[in-house]
């Protein structure tokens, strides 16, 4: 059976694919946002999976830093997107 | 010497530019330098001006020795007549402007010693003559003017292509160095067509009756005298006369000329307007000269003699025809009708070649070079002269008839001018050649014509020409053109070309 890193890596790639597909197909903005976040998680999984060398060896810290940065960036983008959506819908009723 | 030459050409231009052309006497004055040149400057004096018109050469040679005085005399005579005769200044001034322009063109053409200058003179003369035909502002251009213009432009263009190819094939433009021999038949044909229009060979003559009948008498005089001769000068200079190998063209020209001689007379007899009749007589006379040229082409060795004869014949014909027009105008509106009618009769006889007249000399000169195997041409020409006499008779009747129709206020008699011209013609002829012996051979054509004329008088009134439907002036070509128009073939071209000019064709100018 493949080791954990490969398993999670493949999962990450699949999640990224799912996210990408949903992001393109879905028309509703919030659903698209969710899809993009899922895609992000997928990519981060790939990164962290490659940094994992099994239970007894310390993992490579650089991908961890990258993913941390990635998460913060993702949340910033999500926040801005939601604010845009809110402004868009508020401006609707004028 | 050179100053005189340049003065002949620039005199008329100076008169125009200075605005003196409005004065009556400006026309004759302009011709004076030309007369002086003719008198003083010896035969082959040529000056080269290479900055003028791609290297122009001006000067005199044997041909211009004869042609210059004749033209100058004619221009002076017509100018004098016009000065006497001219109507309101408003109408005369433009006429005199174009008169002077045409004179410049004609003199340049005569004095030209190279192809380019000849063509320049030829086209200036051709175009400015339009002003002579169309001398009175009219809402739509009279048929005479537009027909004249169309034919002249066609003629000039044909001449242009002919001259270009001639200049190229002959290698240079100067007459002296012009090796006319190399010209191929197409070039000769082009030249023939271009100049043929000017001298009115049958088929190309449609504009002549209209033009002579229109405009003022002085204009018609100059047309029939100086301008027609221009065409002849062109033929004399450019046809490969002294070169062998052009026999077929010669035969064509001979046949065409002889046909013309009789064609002119035939249609002339049917006309009722005196000036139209004179036009047809010009057609026949010039065609006979062209026939002789054709003969010269067939027999190159005889060419020099023929050329000399033709030159004399042309001078005689020019002066007498010009005088006839002036006299006819004088008779029609002159103060002393009887005197001018007498002059008319005298001139007609001269033209018909009656004995002791320059006409007789010219005709005998033409016949002398004919060798025995071509004797038949001589007899044909004899018949032609009888026909001409008949035509002259017809002319006299028409003139008498036209006199009765109008009795305008009598103008000063210009008869004197006609006489002067007459005398000059004879003087020239007599000084050059011995007085011809009075031989039956020379007289019988005149007598035969007189007999025919009186016989014709006896015919019943019904068949007399007066009440016959008169064929239109331009006869065959005009008829053919109208038939085509009716068939819509060239209506498009015609409509655009003549949309503004054509009045209904029937009406023609005063007689």
């Amino acid at each position: 059976m493949p080791d954990a890193a490969t398993l999670y890596g493949l999962l990450g790639i699949v999640l990224a694919g799912l996210g990408a597909h949903a992001a393109i197909v879905q028309r509703d903005s919030i659903r698209r946002l969710l899809a993009i976040n899922v895609m992000g998680v997928g990519v981060f999984l790939v990164l962290i999976a490659t940094a994992y060398f099994g239970p007894n060896q310390d993992p490579d810290p650089i991908p961890h830093a990258l993913v941390l940065t990635g998460i913060v960036v993702a949340v910033a983008a999500t926040a801005l997107a939601l604010a845009l959506l809110r402004a868009f819908e508020r401006s609707d009723d004028e | 010497m050179n100053l005189l030459l340049t003065l002949t050409l620039t005199a008329p231009l100076l008169l125009i530019l200075s605005g003196l052309y409005r004065k009556r006497w400006s026309a004759p004055i302009a011709a004076v330098p030309a007369l002086l040149t003719a008198a003083l400057i010896p035969a082959d004096h040529v000056i080269a001006l290479d900055w003028f018109l791609l290297g122009a050469q001006l000067g005199t040679d044997e041909l211009s020795a004869w042609m210059l005085p004749a033209s100058a005399l004619l221009w002076a005579g017509a100018g004098l007549h016009h000065a006497w005769r001219s109507g309101s200044p408003a109408q005369a001034a433009p006429f005199r402007l174009f008169f002077l322009l045409a004179m410049t063109g004609n003199l340049l053409l005569v004095l030209a010693q190279d192809v380019m200058t000849f063509y320049v003179g030829y086209s200036i003369m051709g175009l400015s003559a339009y002003g002579l035909v169309h001398d009175r502002p009219s809402s739509s251009a009279p048929p005479a003017a537009s027909t004249y213009l169309r034919w002249t432009i066609a003629g000039e263009l044909l001449l242009f292509s002919g001259l270009v190819s001639l200049a190229y094939q002959a290698g240079s433009t100067g007459f002296s160095t012009l090796a006319i021999g190399q010209a191929d038949t197409i070039t000769v044909l082009l030249l023939l067509a271009g100049l043929g229009i000017k001298i009115g060979l049958p088929g190309l003559h449609a504009w002549m009756p209209w033009t002579y009948a229109a405009g003022q008498a002085a204009g018609s005089a100059v047309f029939s005298g100086a301008m027609v001769n221009a065409g002849l000068i062109g033929l004399l200079r450019f046809l490969p006369l002294q070169q062998p190998g052009h026999a077929e063209v010669g035969q064509l020209l001979l046949a065409w000329g002889l046909l013309g001689a009789f064609y002119g007379v035939l249609f002339g007899l049917l006309q009722r307007t005196p000036r139209a009749i004179l036009a047809y007589s010009s057609v026949s006379q010039m065609s006979s000269m062209a026939a002789m040229l054709g003969f010269a082409l067939i027999e190159p060795e005889l060419a020099p003699a023929i050329i000399a004869a033709i030159t004399v014949y042309a001078v005689h014909h020019g002066l007498s025809k010009g005088a006839l027009f002036l006299a006819q105008d004088d008779y029609r509106a002159g103060a002393r009708p009887r005197l001018s009618f007498a002059i008319l009769v005298l001139l007609s006889l001269m033209l018909a070649g009656a004995p002791y007249t320059s006409g007789a000399i010219a005709k005998t000169l033409i016949k002398t070079p004919l060798t025995d195997e071509y004797a038949w041409i001589g007899s044909v020409l004899l018949f032609a002269s009888t026909a001409t006499t008949l035509l002259m008779l017809r002319f006299l009747f028409a003139v008498r008839a036209s006199r009765r129709q109008q009795t305008p206020a009598p103008l000063a008699s210009g008869a004197g001018v006609a006489i002067v011209l007459l005398v000059c013609a004879h003087l020239a002829a007599y000084t050059m050649y011995p007085l011809p012996t009075l031989s039956l051979h020379a007289i019988w054509p005149v007598i035969l014509a007189l007999l025919l004329g009186f016989a014709f008088m006896r015919l019943p009134a019904a068949t007399r020409a007066q009440n016959q439907p008169e064929p239109p002036m331009g006869d065959l070509p005009t008829l053919m053109a109208r038939w085509l128009i009716r068939r819509r073939w060239i209506v498009w071209l015609h409509s655009t070309l003549a949309a503004e000019h054509e009045t209904e064709p029937g009406k023609h100018h005063e007689g």
């Binding site: 393109i24 990519v43 997107a81 | -």
Partner: protein
């Protein structure tokens, strides 16, 4: 010498922070920050000329571990383009925003965008590029939505979504590269890439992401609404600079990071898409009723030219012709930046005066603003690629290489493209000659008009006649 590199990034960043902290002094801070960063770029010029291309490891750590900034001929040209265009747009923006609240919000975001651009052109590290790209996208989106109109916000939202999708694609590529080669530094990665599956997969995903962000033809649908609904200075910045970032990255990746993983099919695909962009962009620009929409579609078309040039460059055999084409490509990018920003600023002036930018009712305004119309004319000439402009030289060289590579279809497409461009430019200019009912006294509001005019003049005269130094400079510094 290395200080100047980081200064060009830090100065606008500090400016942005100051502007965010003291919004009322926004204009003053904004202008000074842009000026200072321009000076820093100038300083960078001298050091580049002095000791050639160089790089600086931030934080003192060697490249594998730390992040490296690098500068070479291409990046310095891009930086100077950004500095100049930003300066002109900032001057224009200082008078553009009537409402104080909008002005206060504009400056911090604007300076962040400039900082992101400078960071991007200097970045030497793949992940750092990702973060800079994100910063650029977010600030651009925020700026687009600044207009406050419903259409603007909707366009900004779609722009953000597409931007994120593109960035995720790019990040996936970076992740793969890191997992394979264990380093994020571009030069180190470049040393290890070949035509092995990882490099090819990474290249495909990263290029796809970047093409999405730089709006190449089929993926361009988000650009026109975004650029046409943003306020004038913002759309000038977007069209002239932000779109170039995506193209610059593709150029970097293709030429330096993945030189030999590129398959001919990939290059042909991009060439075809580029050709499609030229035709579709120009055609849509011709149909546009509003000036800003016209300018936006023209950006799509001009990008098509750049990508076609890039595709030709990649498929050209190594030699002098290839170097000349690279110079032409850079020149076309520069000219487009200046011309497009000048066009948008001029449109801003017209919209400011006439209250609308519908092309049909342009007569009166075009005649009463001679300087602006002249700027539009010059910018139009640069967009079409007619003589006085740099684009003419670029297009001449582009066609030259297309012909020598027997790409006849491309020649035809470029020809039709420039004709369509001429059509839509002169459709606008035609109104300058119409005889309008309004009184014809010309309004000269100099402070509003001269930035547009100056940019247009640089695009046509300066780059048209004075750009011979670019080629040797690129070669010498390569």
């Amino acid at each position: 010498m290395n200080e100047s590199m980081s200064l060009t990034i830090i100065l606008p960043l500090l400016g942005a922070l100051l502007a965010a902290a003291w919004p009322r002094r926004g204009v003053f801070i904004g202008i000074t920050a842009v000026l200072l960063s321009g000076l820093a770029v100038g300083w960078l010029w001298f050091s580049l000329l002095a000791d050639g291309p160089s790089h600086q490891a931030l934080g003192g750590w060697d490249p594998g571990l730390g992040i490296r900034l690098q500068v070479d001929a291409l990046s310095i040209l891009m930086l100077s383009m950004t500095a100049l265009v930003a300066l002109a747009v900032s001057v224009y923006a200082s008078h553009y925003f009537t409402r104080r609240s909008q002005a206060e919000r504009f400056w911090p975001l604007w300076l962040l965008m400039i900082a992101a651009l400078n960071g991007l052109f200097l970045a030497g590290d793949l992940f750092n590029l990702y973060v800079t790209l994100e910063l650029l996208s977010l600030s651009a989106v925020a700026l687009t939505a600044l207009g406050g109109k419903r259409a603007g916000i909707a366009a900004a939202l779609r722009y953000l979504m597409i931007g994120l999708l593109g960035s995720m694609g790019y990040l996936a590529g970076v992740a793969l590269l890191y997992s394979a080669f264990g380093t994020l530094d571009m030069q180190q990665v470049a040393a290890q890439t070949g035509d092995d599956p990882v490099s090819q997969a990474a290249l495909i995903v990263m290029t796809a992401g970047l093409l999405l962000k730089s709006a190449l033809f089929p993926l361009h649908f988000w650009l026109p609404p975004a650029h046409s609904n943003a306020p004038a200075p913002v759309s000038a910045g977007l069209s002239a600079l932000v779109v170039k970032a995506g193209f610059y990255l593709v150029l970097r990746l293709w030429t330096e990071v993945f030189p030999d993983t590129l398959s001919t099919q990939g290059v042909t695909l991009v060439a075809v898409l580029g050709g499609g962009a030229i035709l579709w962009g120009s055609w849509q620009a011709l149909q546009a009723e509003r000036l800003k929409l016209l300018a936006a579609y023209s950006t799509v078309a001009q990008l098509g030219y750049l990508f076609v040039a890039l595709a030709l460059f990649m498929s050209a055999p190594p030699g002098v012709a290839r170097e000349l084409l690279f110079g032409a490509l850079v020149l076309m990018a520069l000219t487009h930046a200046f011309a497009k920003s000048s066009l948008f600023l001029a449109i801003g002036v017209i919209q400011h005066r006439a209250g609308h930018d519908r092309i049909a009712e342009l007569d009166g305004t075009a005649q009463r603003l001679p300087a602006t119309t002249f700027a539009i004319a010059l910018a139009g000439v640069a967009l079409i690629g007619l003589p006085p402009s740099g684009a003419f030289l670029g297009k001449w060289r582009l066609l030259y290489s297309a012909i020598s590579l027997d790409q006849w279809l491309l020649v035809v497409v470029i020809g039709i493209g420039s004709l369509l461009a001429a059509a839509y430019v002169f459709r606008v200019l035609g109104h300058a000659f119409g005889r309008s009912a309004l009184s014809v006294q010309a309004i000269h509001s100099v402070h509003e008009e001269w930035p547009a005019l100056l940019l247009a003049l640089t695009a046509t005269l300066l780059l048209g006649f004075g750009s011979a130094w670019i080629w040797p400079f690129l070669e010498h510094m390569a």
